[in-house]
Amino acid sequence: MKKPAASRIDALPQRSLWRLLGVMLLVIAPHLLRLPPWESAAVLALGVWRVVATRRQWPAPHAAIKAGLTILAFVGVYASFGRVWGQHPGVALLVIMLGLKLTELRARRDVVVTVFLLYFLLLTHFLFSQELWTLFYLLACTIAVTAVLADTHHAGGALPARLALRIGGRLIAQSLPLMLLMFLLCPRIPGPLWTLPDDAGAARSGLSETMSPGDVARLASSDEVAFRVRFEGAIPPAADRYWRGPVLWAFDGRSWSAPPQPFTANPPLQLEGPGYRYETTLEPSRTPWLFALDYADASALPERTRLSSDYELMSWKPVNERLRYVAQSQPRHRAQPDLSDRERRRLLTLPAGYNARARALAQSWQQAGGGDRAIVDRALAMFRDEAFFYTLEPPRLGRDSVDEFLFQTRRGFCEHYASSFVVLMRAAGLPARVVTGYLGAEKNPFGDHYVVRQSDAHAWAEVWIAGFGWTRIDPTATVSPARVEQSLGALGSGTRQAREGLFGALDWQTLRYQARSVYDWIDAQWNGLVLGYGTDLQRDLLDRIGLGNWRDMLLALTGTITATLLLIGGLMMRKRRPAAPTDAALRLWRQATRQLQAQGLPQNRGEGPRDFADRVARERPALAAPVRALARAYLQARYEAVEPTSEALRELRLAVDALKR
């Protein structure tokens, strides 16, 4: 005897379970690498237990065990993170709960719950990474999860894997246009696509408000993108691509810093010469500095920024998310022509008891006379004429770092030159400070944007010269002029040209460079068009297509979706609808059957003409004779020969007419 179906659990085919486990692993794999090791191990162990329990047909664990495990999971997450909410603990909880769900996976319903949990878990990946590969990975995951969902809903037996995947893929493909439409038109919350909670992400590399010997050199080996720039109109020559960042003025003998100053009114700034307007997309730096070409125009500052008294472009709060801003700069300028005594004192301060030789040298220049310009030139001449080398791997420096650099090692990176130059200037009585930032910008050959990487980090000096104001002096340029002309990455690979000659276009370095450019271009598009698609871009887009306000936009959204669905529905119905009859006999027959239908005698689908006539004769004996005659005439006309004879058609027409009467 078979058991009645109702009493059985809607059991799951084993094959579906293996698939579900596989897809689960796929979905949580990136998280497993981020979670505490005990949790990853526990989740994997649960999966293994599930496999063995299914194979050996072990009974389901007792409810008390399950409850105990759940409490343990909470305790474990709390112990690891110190709380059970927030980004990391939340994801950790979700993953472990998903693992625990395996202990009560019995019927189809449980699988459906698990699948929806998986969909939700997919979203959490965006909290950790919003790069392009994440998108593709998650798209593949979504298709796999949808395939499992389709498989689950298939009564009786698992679907073939390829069919299930095809169904999943087709469903996702069909939903893509709607997704795009919603993405473009749905009202957006101000802010980036994915707002990261405060505990997200570790410290980023980049420039900071202090600079010790070796800091910038460390950055030089980083290939990370600092920001991307798109110029509107003129593009500045390479020698003018100084991106101003933190300005450091306090020196403790070893490192430079920018201690907070009492707020002062912005010193006067006269800008001259050609101006550049550009849009910058800054990667999160976790500092408030924005980068602008020397010198940013105070009258055209981006929103929520200010210009500091040292002409730094500062955001109101640290940049924790990718930020896009438009700024305007003019490289020719007269900055702060007058310096107050207090300022002058501040910018001449040197720590006592350090770098005695350098100070003595500078003082000798001052006594030689000849004015401020002459002192600057003497210092630059020293860097140029004596055996100074520019290197990424300078020797370590001791207590009197400037003395050791100037008189012993003479090998250094931009920060050594900038730092010792400023010390010399101050010792010679010229107010000076160190400016850090980036130098250069590499054009992406595939897009119209320029990339500035962490390896472009640079430090230079500013000297206040009476009558001219602040003047930018880059001592590194006198030692290694090439540093200004081309980016550091290119400088490092000096053998490139030679290789190109040998291997032509197949050169490995060139290929790598091109691949990097392509990736950078794609990444820039992704950042700009998708991740950066916030309220502003949306408003721009909607304005451009004439849907500037919310009401129009919502109307358009509703209208478009409705119209699309109507169109799809219409097309499907059109496909289903039988073609209009071209056959004369069929047309006459339809005419007659329509008439009979109006009298409550419809011809059934799949009912032959003779059977139909017989049925009508049974149900409505009064119509028997004309309907039988009609069916006979129709069969004669339609099925007797390839083309109905005119005689047969006439007969049919008569029969149809007879029915009307």
């Binding site: 009786g156 037996g157 039988p578 056959d583 069929l586 059934n604 689908r605 799949g606 009912e607 032959g608 003409p609 003779r610 059977d611 069969l635 339609r638 099925y639 007797e640 020969a641 390839v642």
Partner: protein, 301 residues
């Protein structure tokens, strides 16, 4: 209608009571030059139908009772060395006949079943490297028990496909069963039955079947049916082109028995269940649409 044909139908329904529809199907199967598979429980009159057909059509016939130890040579024949002449002489098996009644075909081993295959498809047999033609006309009428009985080898799809039709008898109606019990034995009646047709007349009728007209509209209908089965989600495979041809031939024969010179959709519908159901396989057991379901779902173009 052809008077001989009318006579044949009448004679048949005197032997097998109350099964006019099945008899007409069986007759149209043979007229369409197809082999017939009769499937039912033991004792439902399968063999009687087959014997009656042979008798009424005036065909020579042999009957082979298939058993699990039956060998191919038992059907096809065997060459035996004769000491007198010093030669091998071929002793033809029961297959050399006009109507072979293969009783309980699914009791034989697959090897023996497949020995029938060439005979059915090619109307010839190859034995000892020599091809021998079978008499004309040649029919196989096989009977089988439903395959969920004990001790049967279900026919594989390829072999099922060789049968133009599969019909099942079903229990007789009350009146027919009463007559069965009160009247003389069917076997005795069968012996007294005079043939209504000669083999030559049968071959002539087969030729007439091929001349029954099928209008484009009707071909469209057959195609619609076939395509419907191919797109049906519950079916493993749809009907093959051979099945579509079979459908046309069977419908032509049915129309001829009905006394018409052209096929109408009702003819296709009449033979559809017998021609199609044994060629269709459900994706999972018990979910296959019935022939009626398919007919009701496909609009006649």
């Amino acid at each position: 209608m052809n008077p001989h044909l009318q006579d044949a139908v009448a004679s048949l329904s005197r032997i097998v009571l109350g099964k006019d529809r099945q008899l007409r199907l069986a007759l149209s199967c043979l007229l369409a030059r197809g082999h017939l598979l009769v499937e039912d429980l033991p004792g439902m009159g399968k063999t009687t139908v087959a014997l009656a057909l042979a008798r009424v059509l005036g065909l020579t016939h042999h009957r082979v009772q298939f058993t699990s130890d039956l060998l191919p040579a038992d059907i096809l024949g065997v060459s035996i060395y004769e000491t007198a002449s010093g030669n091998f002489r071929f002793h033809p098996g029961p297959v050399f006949t006009q109507l072979l009644l293969a009783d309980e075909i699914n009791r034989a081993s697959p090897k023996t079943q497949s020995a029938l295959l060439e005979a059915m498809a090619e109307e010839q047999v190859s034995i000892d490297g020599q091809t021998r033609a079978l008499p004309q006309p040649f029919f196989v009428v096989a009977t089988q028990n439903p395959s969920d009985q004990v001790g049967v080898f279900a026919l594989p799809e390829s072999q099922l496909d060789r049968f133009l039709m599969r019909i099942s008898m079903g229990y007789p109606a009350a009146a027919a069963e009463r007559a069965l019990l009160t009247e003389p034995e069917r076997r005795d009646l069968l012996l007294g039955l005079a043939p209504s047709l000669t083999p030559e007349a049968l071959i002539e009728l087969q030729r007439e079947v091929q001349q029954v007209r099928t209008a484009p509209a009707l071909i469209d209908y057959i195609l619609a049916l076939v395509h419907h089965t191919r797109a049906h989600p519950a079916l493993q495979h749809g009907l093959s082109p051979r099945a579509a041809l079979a459908l046309r031939h069977a419908a032509q024969a049915w129309a001829l028995i009905d006394g018409r010179g052209s096929v109408i959709p009702e003819d296709v519908q009449a033979v559809f269940a017998a021609v199609a159901t044994h060629r269709l396989q459900a994706r999972s057991a018990g979910t296959a649409p019935s022939a009626q379901d398919i007919l009701a779902a496909v609009a006649i173009p």
